[in-house]
């Protein structure tokens, strides 16, 4: 019998090579943009794209895999490392520009972009060139739906079991419903919807009178629920109520399970309407907004009702979908709103969307499971199966959900402690840990933050984006031993 190594390294390198080729292709867009605007970044993007291209070609053609099989282990390792590799190459434009960022800042920026966290080390975003803005928007846009999902949709070489393992390691959610028989078809459908949403939003923004460049960057930042903006603060972009409303709608859609959106477009209305998670998502947003409005009214009495409702909806959707756009008014709302936002950041939106956090699917399962455990005290012999959207969930999956939430809380607690040790004060430390894990980068620049803190933040973002297990499993002994 042939000896099989645990990890199929040559094949891993080749697949990473393919992915890098893809990344260099995307770097061509900001390059074109820089050329168009005659900006100083032309060289930086040209260099980055060619370095990435060269690395991609090297990785594609140098290793000679004698076995193209990709197993479970390969899937996990590849997915986790691809995100790191993407960020490593994605930071090149920031390093090679005229006023280069430090390596820590550049990596932080890239990781924050790809994981759609949207936290930034650049103190004044408005001073960035068009090329840089486009690259930041593109990173978010690619990371939002998933780098690997995109690749699988395009490369026939990954339309295999190996490609599916990788997608499973990347997609969010408890289970991954396929919508069509082969992975590449599923990936294409999901990306189709994603592109459709982006284009529709772009058109609407143009219609609302936004210039085309801002419209492009913001539509990518909104649908991917990333939250980068071309201004110093997102509030400078969202000047009219109409703009706020469309952005709210698309942030909301970015938080909906894309499989559901596919069903909606293919005419399965009932299935969408019956979806418990979607219902919960909508009710959380309505209830949350009502609370925010109530709080505003309680604190100030004389408020502009329509304006406040729009602002409240915007803020709640932005937080829940982990986009992280903020309105300047947030600080005016009381402390209870900040607490509400924290809870909403923690749970996020629907699984299978571009949002971050624990995901509402898991919340539904957890609540039901907790309730049944209580009731079981009274009727110990009754069977209480946990149902999600009418389907009974196997006990194993329920336990995985509970474990997931435990890990999530555990890592936030651990992260808080680590940040504390690194010298961040306790309140901020908790905020950092929560926002990184939930990929919701609300707020200010992290330029002044110490480098260690930034590296650890980037790590937490990755852990949060890949939903813990994909990264954590790499740290187990079993993974590396037969």
């Amino acid at each position: 019998m042939r000896e099989r190594r645990i990890i199929n390294l040559p094949m891993l390198m080749r697949v990473s090579g393919w992915l890098l080729l893809m990344e260099s292709f995307f770097m061509a867009f900001p390059l074109l943009c820089s050329i168009f605007f005659h900006e100083s970044d032309i060289i930086s993007f040209a260099l980055s794209a060619s370095i990435t291209l060269a690395a991609g070609l090297m990785l594609t053609y140098l290793p000679r895999p004698n076995n193209t099989h990709l197993g479970k282990r390969d899937g996990f390792l590849l997915t986790a490392s691809v995100w790191v590799i993407f960020s490593l190459f994605g930071m090149l434009p920031f390093l090679l520009r005229e006023h280069p960022l430090t390596v820590s800042n550049a990596f932080f920026e890239a990781m924050s972009g790809f994981t759609t966290t949207g936290a930034s080390t650049i103190s004044s975003a408005a001073s960035l060139t068009h090329g840089m803005h486009l690259w930041r928007a593109l990173m978010q846009w690619l990371g939002g739906m998933g780098i690997i999902l995109f690749t699988v949709a395009l490369l026939p070489m990954l339309n295999t079991t190996g490609g599916m393992q990788m997608i499973n390691a990347e997609l969010t959610g408890i289970t991954h419903d396929k919508i069509r028989p082969r992975v590449s078809q599923t990936a294409k459908s999901l990306w189709g919807i994603y592109i459709l949403l982006t284009v529709v939003l772009l058109t609407l923004l143009l219609f609302a009178g936004v210039n085309w460049f801002d419209a492009l960057c913001h539509s990518m930042g909104t649908v991917s629920t990333g939250g980068y903006t071309t201004y110093d603060s997102s509030s400078s972009f969202l000047t009219t109520p109409f703009l706020k409303i469309i952005v709210t709608v698309f942030m909301f859609l970015g938080g909906v399970n894309f499989t559901l959106l596919y069903r909606l477009l293919t005419g399965h209305l009932r299935m969408v309407w019956r979806n418990e998670v979607l219902r919960l998502y909508v009710s959380i947003i309505i209830a949350g907004s009502a609370l925010v409005v109530a709080s505003a009214w309680f604190h100030r009495r004389n408020i502009n009702m329509t304006g406040t409702v729009v602002d409240a909806l915007f803020q709640v959707v932005s937080t829940s979908s982990s986009t992280g756009y903020v309105l300047s008014g947030e600080r005016v709302w009381g402390g209870e709103v900040a607490l509400l936002m924290m809870v909403m950041t923690f749970f996020g939106a629907c699984a299978g969307s571009t949002s971050g956090g624990v995901k509402l699917d898991r919340l539904v399962v957890l609540i039901k499971h907790c309730y049944y455990e209580l009731v079981r005290c009274v009727h110990p012999n009754n069977i209480y199966p946990v149902r999600l959207n009418g389907r009974v969930m196997p006990t194993q999956q329920v336990s995985k959900v509970v474990v997931f939430i435990f890990f999530f809380i555990g890592i936030i607690a651990g992260g808080t402690a680590v940040f504390g040790i690194m010298g961040v004060d306790m309140g901020n430390a908790f905020h950092l840990a929560l926002n990184c894990m939930a990929n919701a980068g609300v707020g200010n620049s992290y330029a002044g933050t110490p480098d260690v803190v930034k590296w650890f933040m980037a790590f937490l973002m990755l852990v949060g984006r890949l939903e813990l297990f994909t990264v954590l499993v790499l740290f187990t002994r079993t993974f590396w031993h037969k």
């Binding site: 079991t161 599916m164 289970t175 396929k178 082969r182 389907r391």
Partner: protein, 444 residues
Amino acid sequence: MKIVIAGAGEVGMYLAKFLSREDQDIMLIDKDSERLSRLDANYNLMTVTGDPTTFEALREASAGSADLFIAVTPYETDNIVACATAKSLGAKTTVARIERYDFMDEKNRPFVNRMGVDRVIYPEYLAASEILRSMDHAWTRSWYELHNGEIILVGVNVSEKAPMCGMSLRDLSSAGHSFHVSAIRRNHETIIPRGNDIIEAGDILYITSTSKGIRHLMEMTGSEETRLRRALIMGGSKIAVRLLNLANGRYRFIVVEPDLRRCEKISMLCPHAEIIQGDARDPELLSEAGITDADVFIALTDSSESNILSCLTAREAGVKKTVAEVENIQFIPQAEGLNIGTIINKKLLASSSIFQLLLDTDHSTSKCLAIADAEVAELEIKDNSKLTRSAVKDLKLPRELTLAAMIRNGKGMLISGTTELIPGDVVLVFCLRGALKKVEKLFN
């Protein structure tokens, strides 16, 4: 091509995995969601939980747009209902696995077709005909006739006393033998041999030949034609009954079956057979039944282990040919290593017969059959194919394939290094699993 498979039993799973690797769109329906979730997470296919006999589940799997609908649930009636339902929804071709000969009978065919079942698969029948074929050609392990017998493909075991043992393929071909060694199975591994590979004792060779070359091949492999007369069957299963009916008096059968009722039933169904009630694992009973005089021993009980072990016992008692039914797929490589002549597996037979059917419906793919880890395909050479440029030995063909034989103007002939191929030739190609795509490129 879109294929819907109803029933994730062993055949269903085997087919689904295999076909999904062949780049087909697979939908798999089963009632058991846990069984499906394992498949769903690990293979490139889509699953639907539900009863395959219901419209609801079939609609969800969009069976209406399927090119091929395969019903392989454990129950015959379910399969037929599922096929009928799928057909009424619009499935192009439907296949049902059945358990009784009744549905296969030629005179009942129109009725079965009217119900919406286009093709039937009857594994017991397939198994019985496979056994019979191996008995008719007892010196081989497997025997396939292609193109009305113009090309014959045999699998033979090389013994130490075979004249070809120790020879390299180059010597064999320069000696002008009229056969082509196309694949070698050695220590669980399949080799596509080149000129300097040497034939060793214990190898299983897959050899392509024409009907004229067979006698010569027999001499070279050191085997002699054995006239078989008496066959001893252990276990009076459905396969046994089918076999007795198919053989049509060509052999004398003795059936050993422990269950008295079953014995009576068999004696009713097959009046010519000699039936002994008892357990064939008992050596005393075996010698009483005449194991020493038997030419063939066929073990068809439900237990794969018993079948394998009793075949070994029969070999010791001097039986020339043994056949074992091994239903646990994972035992098959081991059983092959134990030198049991022919191994019968209903699931593999059913799967390969469905696969054959699929190839018949899908004209874009080549006809092909899987032997060990190799695939054998019949491909027609198109105009401007690379293969027509020079003689075969100068073509610089990849290592994982070999051209064995061809059909030109309806005549079968072997391919040697000096053969020059022309468009229109149908060529028999051996390649390692997974290389078929590469091969197809060569021909177009």
